[in-house]
């Protein structure tokens, strides 16, 4: 795969583009930081500069993932799943009686999910968590014997496993799809997903700051506006369409795919904001400074990855 990455000019172009954008925005960010005038513009610039740090890290992670190959990328995503689940379970109230269930979630269910992907055992990979873990979680909590808030606890743990392990695992699963005529280029699919998803996030933010007026759900997330949503989805879809040459899609298909990624990604970040409101924090990273923030970065990816994966599998894999 390391050779593939070097011998795959389209992949090189995608990466080059991302790097170029990052360098450009970092330079612009520095210049703006020196020139900033009002408090409002200062906070936006600081916010963007902070996000950029995370993007550099993500970019580095994906570069490593592509270079070390399929299995390496799988391990990398398993680690991200682990860290995300760790953040989630830390902040979600669980009780003493959930201890063993949680142990199984971290050390059996989640690693098993990634093993199944590595084995290309699609049949079990797709149902293990929704069917088997779904039954396992409430049963093991019931066996522990504590019935207080039973449904809430079981539901919260199940949601965490679905989002952090099941949903996210569909991103590296893209590397194990066999799209006819596209063999050896699977890394591009993963990169395409991440680029469209992350660009939707930042473009939505920028559009929202520029012309945003009408809030979508101010109680959930005061920063999300209809103008930002439409602008972000439209411009990220346009970008995704323009990247059709790196994918097995036609330009029209690429538009449909990136539009879907945008919609589901938006849903993901909205839902995660609502959960954070529920728990009473602004960012998953704030409470546990220095460790947190992973769930904040991958919230949209968690919702977009499964649908992107299933669409490709349904339409492009015979």
């Amino acid at each position: 795969m390391i050779l593939e990455a070097i011998h795959d000019p389209e992949l090189g172009c995608l990466f080059g583009g991302v790097l170029f954008l990052l360098i450009l925005s970092t330079l612009i960010g520095r210049r703006l930081k020196r020139r900033r005038k009002t408090d409002a513009s200062r906070s936006i610039i600081d916010d963007l500069n902070n996000r950029k740090g995370a993007w550099w890290n993500m970019c580095a992670i994906f570069a490593v993932a592509v270079v070390i190959g399929r299995v390496g990328a799988l391990v990398l995503f398993a680690i991200i799943s682990f860290l995300a689940m760790r953040e989630y379970m830390t902040l979600v109230p669980t009780r003493r009686g959930d201890h063993r269930t949680l142990f199984w979630s971290f050390f059996v269910i989640m690693p098993l999910q990634y093993c199944l992907i590595g084995m290309r055992w699609y049949g079990l990979f797709a149902v293990m968590i929704p069917v088997l873990a779904f039954v396992f979680v409430p049963t093991s909590i019931a066996i522990a014997g504590d019935t207080e808030h039973f449904l809430e606890r079981a539901g919260k743990i199940q949601f965490g496993i679905i989002v952090c392990a099941y949903c996210l695992s569909h991103a590296p699963a893209l590397l194990f799809l066999r799209v006819p005529g596209f063999e050896g280029h699977d890394a591009r699919l993963l990169l395409y997903l991440v680029i469209v998803d992350q660009m939707r996030d930042v473009l939505q933010y920028l559009w929202g700051k520029l012309i945003g007026k009408h809030k979508i759900a101010w109680r959930v997330s005061p920063n999300k506006t209809w103008e930002g949503f439409v602008g972000g989805v439209a411009s990220a879809t346009a970008l995704g369409t323009a990247l059709w040459w790196a994918t097995p899609f036609t330009p029209l298909q690429s538009a449909g795919m990136s539009f879907t990624i945008c919609l589901f990604g938006f849903a993901g970040s909205l839902v995660m904001s609502a959960i954070k409101r529920d728990i009473g924090i602004k960012d998953f990273g704030v409470v546990i400074e220095g460790h947190g923030g992973i769930l904040d970065r991958i919230d949209s990816l968690c919702f977009a990855a499964p649908v992107f994966f299933q669409l490709i599998r349904y339409y492009f894999v015979p």
């Binding site: 830390t90 003493r96 201890h99 971290f106 546990i288």
Partner: protein
């Protein structure tokens, strides 16, 4: 006691830090090589190792835990970990409560304090869990009086409160397998026994000093 760190202690400390993802904050004081008694809430076997691992290595080499003799001498692996790996000061529990009369209780109590004061010596520090046993982690239990008498006996030693948060969810009492959630450790401002301060008033104040360091609140 030797001043070198047992290799297994370093390994256990690294493992405990990895599992607990602990974030350390020195809120009321800075790490210092002077003699101290760190006292904290107790809800998990990880408590001591996590607290100990949060100290810089020069300080770590001179810092010993106070532990219950009955529990830590029960099996030989436990005894090895307590004595050889962490150089624990093992105290017998229940001597004071089991005593037949007040004189005997007073004598037993004085002996325990003497034992801890000996362990402090001229350069050691101690880690003490004044609740005496692991709690559920929901609230801090009443403090045993040893801390008060030890503080009176050695007024030159600084008393540093610390709060260990979430470790009861990572490795609760009665479990042997940990769940790797994240945890917090906060060191507070040192306290001392005021002149003429009554035992119970001081112990309550010490408990407050630990409780006030809680950052997230009960889960």
């Amino acid at each position: 006691m030797s001043n070198s760190i047992h290799p297994m202690a370093s390994v256990l400390a690294a493992v405990a830090r990895g599992i607990s993802g602990v974030q350390v904050q020195w809120a009321g004081c800075e790490p210092d090589e002077r003699q101290r008694i760190y006292f904290a809430n107790h809800s998990s076997h990880l408590d001591f190792v996590v607290l100990w691992s949060a100290l810089p290595s020069e300080i770590r080499a001179k810092t010993r835990p106070i532990a219950a003799k009955d529990y830590w001498e029960e099996t030989s692996p436990r005894r090895y970990v307590a004595k050889n790996v962490f150089h624990a000061v093992l105290l017998e529990r229940g001597l004071v409560t089991k005593a037949q009369n007040p004189e005997e209780a007073q004598f037993a109590g004085r002996q325990l304090v003497e034992h801890m004061a000996d362990a402090l010596g001229t350069e050691s520090s101690l880690i003490l869990f004044p609740e005496g046993t692991r709690g559920s982690g929901e609230k801090i239990g009443p403090f045993r009086s040893g801390l008060y008498y030890l503080a009176q006996r050695r007024p030159d030693v600084e008393l540093v409160p610390a709060y260990l948060e979430n470790l009861n969810r990572i490795l609760p009492k009665g479990e042997i397998l940990p769940v790797p959630m994240l945890s917090l450790l906060t060191f507070g401002k040192p306290i001392q026994v005021e002149p003429e301060e009554h035992r119970d008033a001081f112990l309550e104040r010490a408990r407050e000093a630990v409780a006030s360091l809680r950052r997230i609140g009960p889960a």
